[in-house]
């Protein structure tokens, strides 16, 4: 029951997180900034519009936003929210969790290639390159979580990310390192600032925006919503990873979870305000540093046997 409440809140409140990030950025820049609910207005406006398809595109273009949204919703449904197990959970679901995001991404890439625009092809190429490097980091993180998980070497999402409650309290340092690596993964996967600027429309700098230039109307609304939900789900993963998930009582735990997610939004907003977007040549190096951090965490764990 508590899990369903969390799931419903996720589906409804996901665009709010983007609003929080934009508000923080506006605060740093001394502007008034868009309203917190701006993304809702945008989505409703786009839903009322007609769908326009390029004449060169095929059915792939029509299908892909739906596939993307479906993949992200199923991935969110696999998440153990606030420490409650998802009804869909099974052993090994953590791999499905990350690969559903990959499915959503490949759908976006296909749609971008289907429009036949060279510009969107460029965006697709960049997205594919970065996500290939991110996969290594994700697998390092999964390995770490499997090593530390409650029931031995477990690939179960709930077992893996509710570690901080199972008396492995000594492993705080490696856990914080892993959280840092996952924060970098989160920034890269959701096209946030050191990797991609969600606000820019300069042709040389964008990745995600370049791929969705030809989508209009409801399609664009679906893509925006899926992106917001993905950000929410990954922030939730980070929160459950770091917070000790001792279930005191349902209401308090859910509140802590939601506050944690908003906190992740604030951190992302601060990072976006104080950092500039990295050059494309620098991006693999940044991801490599995240990989190093994750490896050090595994090293600490295996040498010191927490």
């Amino acid at each position: 029951m508590n899990w369903f409440i969390c799931f419903l809140i996720s589906l409804i409140a996901a665009p709010l997180l983007v609003g929080v990030i934009n508000k923080i950025k506006a605060l740093f820049a001394g502007r008034h900034g868009p309203r917190l609910l701006q993304l809702y207005y945008d989505i409703f406006k786009l839903l009322k519009k007609d769908r326009i398809l390029s004449s060169t595109s095929t059915c792939i273009m029509e299908l892909c936003p739906i596939i993307n949204l479906g993949a992200v919703i199923v991935a969110t449904a696999l998440m153990p929210m606030a420490g409650y197990e998802s009804p869909l959970g099974f052993n090994g679901d953590i791999i499905l969790f990350f690969y559903l995001f990959a499915l959503g991404r490949i759908a976006t890439i296909f749609a971008a290639l289907d429009t036949g625009s060279a510009f969107e092809g460029m965006g697709a190429s960049r997205e594919a390159q970065f996500s290939a490097i991110v996969e290594i980091i994700v697998f390092t993180i999964i390995t770490f979580l499997a090593l530390i998980s409650a029931g031995g070497f477990s690939l179960d999402l709930l077992q893996q990310i509710s570690i901080s409650s199972t008396g492995v309290g000594l492993a705080i340092t490696p856990l914080l390192l892993i959280a840092l690596a996952f924060l970098i993964v989160l920034l890269c996967e959701n096209c946030r600032v050191p990797f991609d600027d969600p606000e820019t429309h300069l042709e040389l700098t964008m990745i995600h925006e370049a791929m969705i230039l030809d989508n209009a109307g409801p399609d664009l609304a679906i893509i925006h919503y899926a992106a917001a939900l993905k950000l929410w789900a990954m922030s939730g993963f980070l929160v459950v990873l770091v917070l000790p998930s001792v279930i005191v009582n349902g209401f308090v735990t859910i509140c802590c979870y939601l506050v944690g997610i908003i906190l992740v939004g604030i951190i992302v907003g601060v990072i976006e305000s104080i950092l500039a977007r990295a050059r494309f040549l620098k991006v693999p190096q940044l991801l490599l540093s995240a990989f190093t951090i994750a490896l050090i965490a595994i090293l600490l764990l295996s040498i010191f046997k927490y």
Binding site: T173, L176, L177, S289, T292, I293, I303, F304
Partner: protein, 225 residues
């Protein structure tokens, strides 16, 4: 809890090692060194066993002086030298930045592996101390070898000194802090000399690549050709 805070400080020092080796902008490097210096300087206060007694006046003074010199004074001197020579970034390192990250990974792995076999008393305080000290020393040496600019080499020397300081703090020898203040004086003098040298190299050659210093001397290579 205290052990955890020591571990987190040491993890921050490890992270600054990685970031320092991977970043090319000199001002950024100097800021990271300042963070590392403050963390290393304040480390003795974290190592101190607070449950029994509060730290002695001697410890307070040494650690605050340490943090002040490493975290404030030396970075200011270095950024002055940087501004004098008007260079902003290390453009052509001898080892590329991605390769540097890999090498630092190898250094860290090796120091974690080998410090297992060391029966240093540092393990009594926190088992994390010796490997962090060794990898900071290794990273500093690597910076001295793999970078051309004189300022980056001075930064590498600072890291090297930070590593020795962590090691000394971890062992906790009596009056170790006074010895470290002596080392710190050496480093201070080194940075002064480096600043003057950087300025002079820059005025003479309009760059500060120290690998071309071997062209100095009476023997003229250009006439040979």
């Amino acid at each position: 809890m205290i052990t955890n805070s020591i571990e987190i400080i040491l993890a921050i020092i490890l992270l600054t090692d990685i970031v320092l080796v991977a970043s090319s902008r000199l001002f950024h490097c100097i800021k990271i060194t300042a963070i590392q210096g403050i963390a290393v300087g304040l480390l003795p206060l974290f190592i101190w066993d607070w449950s029994n007694s509060t730290p002695t006046l001697q410890l307070w003074i040494t650690s605050i002086v340490n943090a002040g010199i490493k975290g404030v004074l030396l970075p200011i001197l270095l950024s002055k030298a940087m501004r004098h020579s008007s260079i902003k970034r290390e453009l052509e390192p001898l080892v590329s930045y991605s390769a540097s990250v890999f090498i630092i990974l190898i250094i860290i792995t090796a120091s974690f592996y080998f410090s297992q076999f060391m029966n240093a008393p540092a393990t009594d305080i926190c088992r994390f101390t010796t490997p962090t000290a060794l990898s900071t020393i290794g990273a500093g040496l690597f910076m001295i070898i793999a970078r051309k600019k004189a300022i980056t080499q001075a930064l590498g020397f600072l890291m090297f000194e930070n590593g020795i300081s962590i090691f000394g703090n971890g062992i906790g020898i009596e009056y170790g802090f006074i010895i470290e203040l002596g080392i710190l004086l050496d480093v201070l003098v080194l940075v002064f000399i480096m600043g003057i040298t950087v300025f002079n190299i820059n005025r003479e050659f309009s760059h500060i690549d120290s690998d071309r210093l071997n062209q100095l001397g009476d023997y003229d290579h250009s006439k040979q050709k």
